[in-house]
């Protein structure tokens, strides 16, 4: 079956602009995660959804970042007033549910803020 997909694969935007990054999880997976990976670093947790609700958003760096998952499947990460420091690869992962399940990662969206 299809894995986790993310669109776009690359996004270049100007400082101050608004961007949306999309994640399509594996069908039937109730848990969805967003991570951010800066150059030379490991992925850092941003937010976790169980179904439609954000169960843990403790990793969002500030109020410019927001994520939704209105129907419990596709999720969108939204970044307002982008800054050059937001440049990174944004990773999405999904898993079958609560518990120590494997998280399946998508290929990521490379965001570059100029």
């Amino acid at each position: 079956g299809a894995g986790v997909s993310q669109t776009p694969s690359n996004k270049v935007t100007e400082k101050g602009k608004y961007v949306e990054l999309r994640c399509d999880p594996i069908s039937g997976h109730t848990a969805l995660y967003w991570y951010r990976q800066s150059l030379g670093q490991g992925p850092e947790f941003l937010i976790y959804f169980q179904g439609t609700g954000a169960a843990d958003d403790s990793g969002l760096p500030n109020d410019r970042f927001f994520a939704v998952r209105p129907e419990g499947s596709v999720s969108t990460l939204k970044i307002q007033r982008t800054e050059r420091g937001d440049s990174a690869v944004y990773l999405c992962a999904s898993s079958p549910g609560q518990g120590p399940y494997e998280q399946y990662f998508g290929p990521g969206t490379r965001l570059t803020v100029t």
Binding site: G40, G42, F45, P107
Partner: protein, 112 residues
């Protein structure tokens, strides 16, 4: 809170030689430990995981890891590496079964 330390940022190894990639963690609660691999231009893929039970865990592609609670370590090993093992390896910990906390990664380079 949890944290993960991967002391070796780069490890060069000759083909068919053994390799050990080190991972140490800290956590105030019980942990679940993972190793992920990222091949060039690909997404993260799970190699193996420790949830409970036997402390020696076997994963894909001939890799294994041993959970050592007293030393708070979860080192990854392979007895004989191949060119195709060239990749970035990440150790991760989950204390509450949900979000993963990753280390900074170890780049494994196989020398022919």
């Amino acid at each position: 809170a949890q944290s993960v330390t991967q002391l070796d940022s780069q490890v060069p190894v000759f083909e068919e030689a053994p390799v050990e990639l080190r991972c140490n963690y800290s956590s105030s609660v019980s942990v679940y430990l993972f190793w992920y691999v990222q091949y060039p231009n690909q997404g993260l893929q799970l190699l193996l995981k420790y949830l409970s039970g036997s402390t020696l865990v076997k994963g894909i592609n001939g890799f294994e890891a041993e959970f050592n609670k007293s030393q708070t370590s979860f080192h990854l090993r392979k007895p004989s590496v191949h060119i195709s093992d060239t990749a970035e390896y990440f150790c991760a910990v989950s204390g509450n079964r949900e979000k993963l906390t990753f280390g900074t990664g170890t780049r494994l380079t196989i020398i022919p």
